[in-house]
Subunit: 193 residues, 2 copies
DNA sequence: TGTGTATTGTACCGATTGGTTCCTTACCGT
DNA sequence: ACGGTAAGGAACCAATCGGTACAATACACA
């Protein structure tokens, strides 16, 4: 029995995600967000409380979208060999760069930035990274070459792979040469063999 | 034939480095810097032009200090096996975290942050990372286990290791659990064997 | 067709941002 | 001792920051 919202909340979060992705948390100003989301201050604050709350919702959205897509790839039964899934994930990250996407990974940018002083953001970042790590672990379980690893060994290797992933995507954002990125991806593949 | 500077420029840059290291480039405000460096606006702008120029000098200082220390370790003839040097470097990074240093690596923070939109900063970051990568390469050259690699193979492996390093230090800044960091370091060591 | 209610848009807020101006201060060379 | 010159310091600047107040608006329900 009142005026309904004239925009879709999820769509607005999706748009906000792209703004934060490009500029980072601190680098994204309110005007940036308002323009990118196509709404005014009143609407934004009414719907999302404040900038940080919005960012947390964006991180959540990112995790539901980008991270889950990664996990889906890592657990894709259509690729029987788990090591192949991991390789596919890394080459995918490299592909993104050569396709012109220099933004890296939102989670990794947040990790290097505000999560250093904001526990809530840090928790959201860790949650996403842990999800990816668990996906890596699942993939390793489906890898013949790593069948002899015990649970702890798989976990440790997955932790290494997630560090590798964070490094790769961070360097991608820093516009490191394609050669270096490709080499890094290739070497991971070799090491996994 | 004029009033001399009452502070040591290098010492001031060193102090500025710690401020940027803790807060990041965008997160470090002028008042933060002034307090940390112990001088006033007039002196700072007279000596360092502006914030970005100061940051570039800080990056340069960091490279001369922290990066060169890393390279020295990677080329240390006192450790005959190059792979041991690399292991030492990674365990050192892990040690820093357990010793309470959560700041990660200034270069890596810069990589994830302003280097995405500022070419000069990006160039400085790349220079530092390349120096480290070259150090890795030198270390691999002194590793019996990697003696059969050709130049390209060594380069590729070094690129992987630098990505690993960036990931590790970025995750350290994000307060990821010690277990994960230790696992990542350990796995790198195992993979190098 | 009212009437109540939540959204929307705009004007505004104090605080803070990076940066400048300009007067004072202190040193070096003569 | 003095004069030229550069550093130090504080007041000041416009612009922007994230956030709020409130009036105009538009919808759902009766």
């Amino acid at each position: 029995m009142a005026r309904p919202r004239s925009f879709d909340t999820d769509a607005a979060i999706e748009k906000a995600m792209h703004v934060f992705w490009a500029h980072g948390y601190e680098g994204a100003s309110l005007p940036d967000l308002l323009e990118g989301m196509g709404l005014t201050r009143g609407s934004l604050y009414k719907a999302f409380t404040d900038k940080k709350t919005l960012f947390l919702k964006v991180l959540d959205h990112y995790e539901c979208k980008a991270v889950q897509a990664g996990v889906a790839l890592l657990t894709d039964p259509a690729i029987p060999n788990g090591a192949d899934r991991i390789r596919a994930m890394f080459t995918g990250a490299y592909q993104a760069v050569t396709d012109g996407d220099q933004r890296g990974c939102l989670l990794c940018t947040a990790a290097a930035g505000p999560s250093a002083y904001d526990p809530e953001i840090a928790a959201a970042v860790e949650q996403g990274l842990t999800a990816l790590r668990d996906g890596m672990e699942d993939a390793l379980e489906a890898s013949p070459a790593h069948g002899d690893l015990d649970t702890g060994g798989r976990r440790a290797l997955a932790d290494m792979l997630i560090a590798q992933y964070v490094g790769l995507r961070t360097m991608a954002r820093a516009r490191v040469s394609d050669d270096t990125l490709r080499n890094a991806v290739r070497s991971v593949g070799v090491m996994l063999a």
